[in-house]
Every structure is written in C-alpha cells, then in structure tokens.
Symmetry: C2
Subunit: 408 residues, 2 copies
C-alpha cells in the first residue's frame, strides 16, 4: 500500500517569538512566547534543500506528508493521519473575467471537510510527540471537528467550546468525533477565555489558533502544494478568507522558505485577506496603516468561520499582506451568498460561505481596480459547502395523479 | 498548473450487451441494449498496455483522469471535471481484529461528497461528447447532486426525481447545483418510471444507474486506483455497499482489464456485496443461487443509498460476487449505526451509513467465519458522513455564571 508516513530526516532547529525573535528550544511543549506572541517554527532550510529534490517530491503520494522535511514531526509513529490529500485546483470558467485564470483550491476535500484538518493534524501529531493527553479549544466549528477527529484517533481527550450560534451540524460533528463540546453564550474570544481559565484545573493543552506553534506548519502546506501544483511558478493573487489568519501566515511562510531554498524565484503572489463587512478588524487595521487590529464590536456575518473579532496573529497577517504587496478587503453577506449561488449553478462548484467570500472579493476588486483581469487568481474554498444551510425545495410529484410532463 | 486533461490516445472499440454479448458501435448515444440489458464498454486492452506504463502513470497528477487510456472520453475538450482526486486509504486501527489490515477507501472526498461523482463525471462528459443537452435521473440523493453539478458545469439542463424521504440536505444540494428536482411519493424504482415516462415529451437522456454505459467506466476507476495504491498487489477482500451495484461491477471490470494487460497477477480480491436487512434483494438472490434478484417489498433502511429494491444490473453484481469467490451479506440498521459511532469516536473516521454498513459487515463476517482476521480488507465509505444526521448535543455554558471547571 502507498505509504507516505515513511521515516524522513527532519530539520527543525528552534522556535522563535513572532514579535521579539527570541529563540526557544525545539522539541518541548510550548504555547505562546514570553511576551504573549505566537511562536514560529524555524528550520535548517539549507538542510531541507540538500535532503530533498523536486523530482523526489513528485514521486511521493499526493498528500500533506509528502512535505515531511518541511514539517516538525520528528518520529513517524507520532503522525496522526486521516488521509490529508493534496487538494484539487478547480477553475471557474463562468466566473472568470478576462484572460487571468480564476481557480479555486478546494480545501473541503480534507478530513472533516475543511482546511482546519491541515493545522490540526500537525498540532495533534506534535501534541502526541510531546506527551499531551488532553486538548482544549474555542471554535466556530470546523477547527473543533478537526481537532476532535485527530485527537480521538490519537486517544486524547478533547474539550471544545463554541459560540452558541455555531451551526448545529458543526456542534454535532464535534461530538460525533468523540469530543466533549459546549455551546457558550458569547463569541469565539469568549470561548477562548474559557480555555485559558480551565488550564489550571483541567491541565489541558490550549490548541487555539496560533496559541500553539504547529497549526501554522500544517497550514503552510497549502503554500507548498500551490507552489508544486503550479510547477513552482506561483499565480499572481491569492484570496484568503481571514479569521485567525493561520493559513495566510502559513502560506507566506512557505513561500519565504521556498524562496530561501531557491525553489521559487521572482515575485511572490499578492496575499489578499478577505473578511466580511460585519467583522473586518484586519481590513480596518490595514486601511489605517496599523500594526495591530482593534477588537471588532458586534461581529456578525453569515460566514461564521471568519467571524473572529480579534486575531492574536493580527500583526503577522498584516505583515504578510503588506510584504506581498497585497491588501485586505471586506465583502457583504449579500455579495457572499450571491457569489456562492452563482458559482454553484454555473460552474458546479458549491462553496462554503467563507470560500464564496473570496469569490465576492475577486468580483469586487476587479471593479475597484486593485486587481486586473489578466492576473491569475486563487480562491480558497476552506470547507465543503455541504456543511452550510442551503435553500429549501418545494416541488413534488404525486404518483396517484397522472403526470403532465409538459409542466415540468 | 498541473493538468491531467491532456490529450491522450483512447482505446474504446465497441459496446457490448451485458446479457447477449451483441456488439454495438462506439461513439453513438446509447441507453440499454435491444434486450434491455446494460451495455458494457470494451477496449483494445492490448493497445492500452502498449500506450501506457505503470511508470508513466505514476508521474501523472493523482486524479481519475490519470487513467485516461482506460476511459471512454475521446476529446479532451469534452471532459467535465470538478477535481476528481485519487481518494485516500485510511486504516482503522481500533476496529481491526487480527493481523489483516482494515482500510477505508474514503470516497467522501470526491466532488459533491460522494463516489457518485466518478460515474457522473464520466456520464456527463460522454453526454457532452455525444451532443446531449438535457439529462434526467431518479436518485436517493448523491447521484442526483453529482449529476446536477457536472451537468450545470457543462451547461446542460437536469431533471431529478427523489423518493420523498430522501434526506433534506440531498434534495437541497441537488437544487443548489442548478437542477430541477422533485420529491415523489414512492421509491427509487418509481422515480425511474417517471424518467422513462418523460422521454418522449421532454427528450431528456436517461442517466439512471446502468441505463447508460459510462457510469460504470467512471466507477471502474475505484478498482484502478486501488490496484495502483496497493502497488498492483490487491488486498484480499472488498466490502462494497450495494444499491445499484455500478461500483462493484466497475471494479470487477477494472480488475479483469488489468489482469488481461498483465498488470496484476494471481488471485483477485473477493467482492462482498453489502446490503441492509431491510432491503437485501441481492443477498436473497445470492443465497438462493439465482441469476437475478426479485423486487424487494417494503424496502427500508437508514442507509438510503442502498435502499434499492431492484437493480437492473443484478446479474452483473451476482456474477462478480461469484466469480471472485465473494459473497453477499446484509446487516441491520442497528449494527450500521453502532459501527458508524465506533469508528468515529475511536478512529476519527466519520462514515456515511452506507460506508458504516461495510464495517458492520466486516465485524459480522469475522464472526461468521466467511472472512478471517488475517485477510486485508477494504471498506468503501461511499460518501462524506457529514451529509447524514448526527445526534444532538445539549451541553451549554452560561458566561453570566462562574464556570466550575471541575464539573466539565
């Protein structure tokens, strides 16, 4: 049987505070840095480029673990995997304007139906490697389901807290995957406080976005995959639905590592952080030239995954957006739902609302002129559209009556 | 960008009646044979083995179209694709008994969340190649969604008829993907009659299971993938949830073609048709030594996808099961739901009820002795577990009160 969890050399040298660049030893259990900033995993990049070639990569099975040398897990036995396939690229011919290609990277194909699987398979594998047996997390839904699935598989206990308007299907999925889960009358940052508050009593490890170092490394594989799928010639613009921002930060990290290795050259893609007008802290900070984002008041949007009023990695998101010559932009719920409908009926691509937000942003920014129609654009569909409500259907046929086919 | 829809030589020689072996010309629009039997696509298998090598295959992107030489679509421009990735193999360490490996092939990762995408991407591509603009189908849910998505992408109209207890999410998904869809107060064979009845008035093409020749060819790729993923050394037993049976027939066809090419040798896997005790026509026919199955009365099971009271390809299913030295078996709804729960909380694998039926069958047949615990077994999880109901969750935390962590 094809096996991608073969032993491979690993190259982590240390961890580094995202803010002060202070150095932390690898291979120990860490959360945030001493100044409360996310920790970034650093590698012997030269070592990777000596150990691995593009040709060798091509011969490996098409999943996330093909990039093992770029990843932190030391021992193969600690890999917790549910089949993290390389996600497909799907063009949207009916939605594309001009010559620039419009392509969806469909992350809904990953385990538990969302891109959260990338981060959580890495976080749970590292938790296993570092001896953790109990995990906790606040979630708008998909991250919780991913953590529950991987942790259950690894034999760990999980405690998960969701805002009370988290879609029913997500809460049920989390429980079905073996986690203890609660609805909380607050938003995700309120749930995060519960996780923080319970550490002393329950001795769980906090797997919140960017509060542990390895979810970024999992999400980084989105950038590695994109680079390889595009034959190491990256597209012009990447639209990314931005809540906690781990994926945007992770992809940018991937591109910088690949550039340092000499595997990609020239201009990197412009990173566009997409938020909803009802919750757009990063957009506001970007527009105001700030390094950090303020807490967004009264956050609301149909796209629950990007309803994140405060992101601990805000400065890392803003850095990546600015360094890449990208931007941050917000779209309305109406534009999101219109885009979702249009892509589904015209191009057969049923996106999640967060994914549809990137399509709405593409449409909006073509009009604004911030992108042009000859640029190749990637949209991230971060979860399967099937987890989200769809309009009801009323049409019926009664077999007790003669069917008038001309009326169908 | 990686591209798997490159021009390739094609090798279809003709079509053949599944019953009489009468020959029909390729490249024309056909439904059933003159005697009302499914038509089987035949290839110049020697031509394939000259044009393609295992090494060449390995270098292609990991999706269904890598097997282009084994497939009927002549012109690349007619390929209608939504990213049909090679589906992952996921072991179930907690559910495995003995030394034989227990592995799920997770078909829920395909477009529209089910293995129906394999058959329908082929049927719709061929419909496009043969000039069809209007399609109709009876469905228990997943096939309809797949047809709707591909047909909408191809610019075709679709008419879809569902039994009235088809899960709400499936009916909504079908409509969201651009189809006209009706609920019907009957079972899938009643819906099939509506499709037959409307042909004259509405001039649609009938895409029912096995009533057109190409869905088998799409499903055949499950067998090609399995063979390649297992390095051309197939596992011992394949448990397949069997409604219309296209996949079982298709896989068996794949194995025979590969054997004819000399790409696989020795004993082929035993094919096990899994049904529910509430709808088990194939099991009854198998047990009674019949060639055909009788219509099952009062069909009912929680696994809607295998609630098929009469399968037009019954004799082809029974042939494959018998030729392979396999068998047919039925499991109870209770066993299905127990197996689903156990795999999800222990191994992180949330299966659909039909997929869980194969796990229940594995457990049952280990006890019966029809399989042994040193055999490597494949279970087909035919759709994402997320499309199916999950138990409700009640736990809440009220931020207006002090949280007593010791009670969590």
């Amino acid at each position: 049987m094809q096996n991608n969890t073969t032993d491979r050399p690993t190259f982590v040298t240390h961890l580094e505070c995202g803010k002060t660049k202070a150095r932390y030893a690898a291979d120990q259990l860490l959360g945030l840095s001493d100044v409360g900033s996310p920790l970034i995993v650093r590698y012997d990049v030269e070592g990777i480029s000596k150990a691995l070639s593009k040709e060798e990569l091509r011969s490996r099975p098409a999943d996330l673990w093909r990039y093992r040398e770029f990843l932190p897990v030391r021992q193969t036995k600690n890999i917790v995997s549910l089949g993290e396939i390389m996600t497909p690229l799907i063009d949207l011919p009916s939605m594309q304007k001009g010559q620039g290609r419009l392509i969806v990277k469909d992350e809904g194909r990953l385990p538990t139906g969302s891109f959260k699987a990338r981060g959580l398979c890495m976080a749970v594998s590292m938790a296993k490697e570092l001896g953790v047996s109990k995990l906790a997390m606040p979630t708008n839904g998909n991250a919780g389901a991913a953590m529950a699935a991987y942790a259950s598989r690894a034999g760990m206990e999980t405690y998960i807290f969701c805002p009370d308007d988290t879609p029913e299907i997500n809460v049920r999925e989390i429980a079905a995957q073996g986690a203890k889960v609660w609805r909380v009358n607050g938003l995700i940052n309120d749930c995060g406080k519960i996780v923080g508050g319970g550490k002393e009593t329950l001795h769980w490890f906090d797997c919140s976005t960017l509060k542990e170092p390895y979810r970024i490394e999992g999400k980084k594989t989105m950038g590695l995959e994109l680079a390889e799928q595009f034959n190491w010639q990256l597209p012009d613009v990447i639209f990314y639905p931005t809540g906690g921002g781990t994926g945007l930060i992770g992809m940018w990290k991937a591109f910088l590592e690949l550039k340092e290795m000499g595997w990609i050259e020239g201009r990197l893609p412009r990173m566009v952080a997409v938020q909803a007008t009802g919750c757009a802290p990063i957009v506001k900070a970007y527009d105001n030239g700030e390094q950090h984002a303020e807490l967004w008041q009264d956050a609301h949007t149909v796209a629950a995954g990007i309803r994140v009023p405060a992101a601990i990695g805000d400065f890392l998101i803003l850095n990546a957006v600015r360094e890449s010559n990208g931007f941050a932009t917000a779209v309305s719920d109406e534009a999101i739902m219109d885009a979702r409908h249009e892509a589904s009926i015209k191009d057969g691509m049923l996106m999640c609302p967060e994914g549809a937000a990137t399509l709405a942003a593409y449409q909006q920014e073509l009009k604004s002129g911030r992108i042009s129609d000859d640029e190749d654009c990637i949209l991230f569909n971060c979860a399967t559209g099937l987890k989200y409500p769809l309009p009801a259907v009323d049409a019926r046929i009664d077999l007790n009556r003669t069917i008038d086919y001309s009326t169908l």
